[in-house]
Amino acid sequence: MSELRWNPLMGEWVATATHRQTRTFLPPADFCPLCPTKPGGFPTEIPEPTYDIVAFENRFPSLQPEPPAPAVEATELYPVRPGVGVCEVLVYTPHHNSTLAAEPVEQIHQLVEVWTDRFRELSALEFVEYVFIFENKGEAIGVTLHHPHGQIYAYPFIPPRVERELEQSRAHRDKTGRCLLCDILAGERADGRRIVASNDSFAAYVPFFARYPYEVHIASARHLQALTDMTDVEQRDLASILKTVLVAYDKLFDLSFPYMMVLHQRPSDGGDYDYYHFHIEFYPPLRTATKLKYLAGSESGAGMFINDTLAEEKAAELRARVAPVVWQKEGSGD
C-alpha cells in the first residue's frame, strides 16, 4: 500500500508505504541483496557475478510508476493521490565492505556519470517534477543494508525543503540581481575560516548556518543548476572534492563516518530555475566519536536546530584532515 496524503497544517505531502515494514533489515554479509550473484550462490538483487555500478528499481518503493489506488478516499481537507514516482537503488561497487570514501576518485567519477544519466532519464518522465539523489550511510542514520549504495527518489512534486531554497534564491535574485549561492560561495572564499577544501570547480565548506556540527556543503564555482550542466572537468573535480571530504570525515574519529548526503538540483518540471545553484549537502549525525546529534523537541517540533559547536572550529578540524586523494588504486573493499 502506498499513497500520498496531504498535510494541511504544513502544506506538504506525506508518503504512506506500509509494505516497507517488511523490507530486508541488516542481513548477514553472506546474504547481502546488493552483492553480485556468484555461481551457485545466494541469488541477490543483481543477477550477475560482477558489475561496476548498478541502478535498479527499489523492491520496496515509497513511490512507483504505476502505483495502486489510494487506500482511503480524499476529502476537501485531506487530499490523497497515488504514490506515483520512481525509487531507485544505486549500488556503487560490488565490494560489500567498501564505502564511497574508500573508493578511488575514478570510481566516484563513474558514479557522478551515473548520477547524471539517472537525473537526465528520470527528469524526462512526464510525472516527475523533482529528482532527488541521496545516500544514507551508517546504522546511526538508520540504513538497513551496509553494502555501499545510494538512492534516488523521483517525486511527482517539488519537495518542501528544496521549494524553500528555490523561494529564497528567487527572492535574493529579485532583490539584488545576483545568485544567492554565488554570493554565499564568494563570501566563504573571502572569509576562508569555514572552507574545508576547494579546487577549480568546487568548494567544500561548513556553512555559516550549519545545523549539524560537521555539516558540509559542496557548491560549484560556476553558476549551474544540475549535473547535466557540468563539463567533464567539472565532473572529475566534483568526484575529487567528494573524495576529499569523505576521507576527512573518516579521519575525524578514525571510524567510518555516518552521514546523509543529498544533491540539490533544479526541479524537472520544465520551469525556468536559472536563479538556482547546484550544491551537495552532508548531514552527519555525530557530534563526537560516541555522541549523536539528536533531532529533539526544538529541531523536530519547532524546526529550529540548535548546534552546540562553532562552524569555524569544525571546519578547521576537517581542514586539518584533508589529504591528497588518489585517482586510481589497486582493488578495493572486501
Partner: protein, 56 residues
C-alpha cells in the same frame, strides 16, 4: 560509459553501467590535486542474461 538494461523476474528494471578502461583512466585534472597510483585490477564481466537496451 555503457549501459545495459534488463528486466527482472518481477518486472522491475535493472541497469548495468560499465566503463571502458581507456575512457576511465585519463590524466586526472591538476586542479583536483590527485596523485596517480597503479590501475585497479578489473574482474571479468559476465555475459548478459536478458539484454533489452544497450547505449553508449
Amino acid at each position: 560509459m555503457q549501459r545495459r538494461q534488463i528486466t527482472l523476474e518481477d518486472g522491475r528494471y535493472l541497469i548495468f553501467y560499465t566503463f571502458d578502461e581507456e575512457a576511465a583512466s585519463p590524466t586526472p585534472p591538476e586542479s583536483a590535486g590527485d596523485e596517480q597510483a597503479p590501475a585497479r585490477v578489473e574482474e571479468p564481466t559476465a555475459e548478459p542474461q536478458a539484454t533489452e537496451e544497450r547505449r553508449v
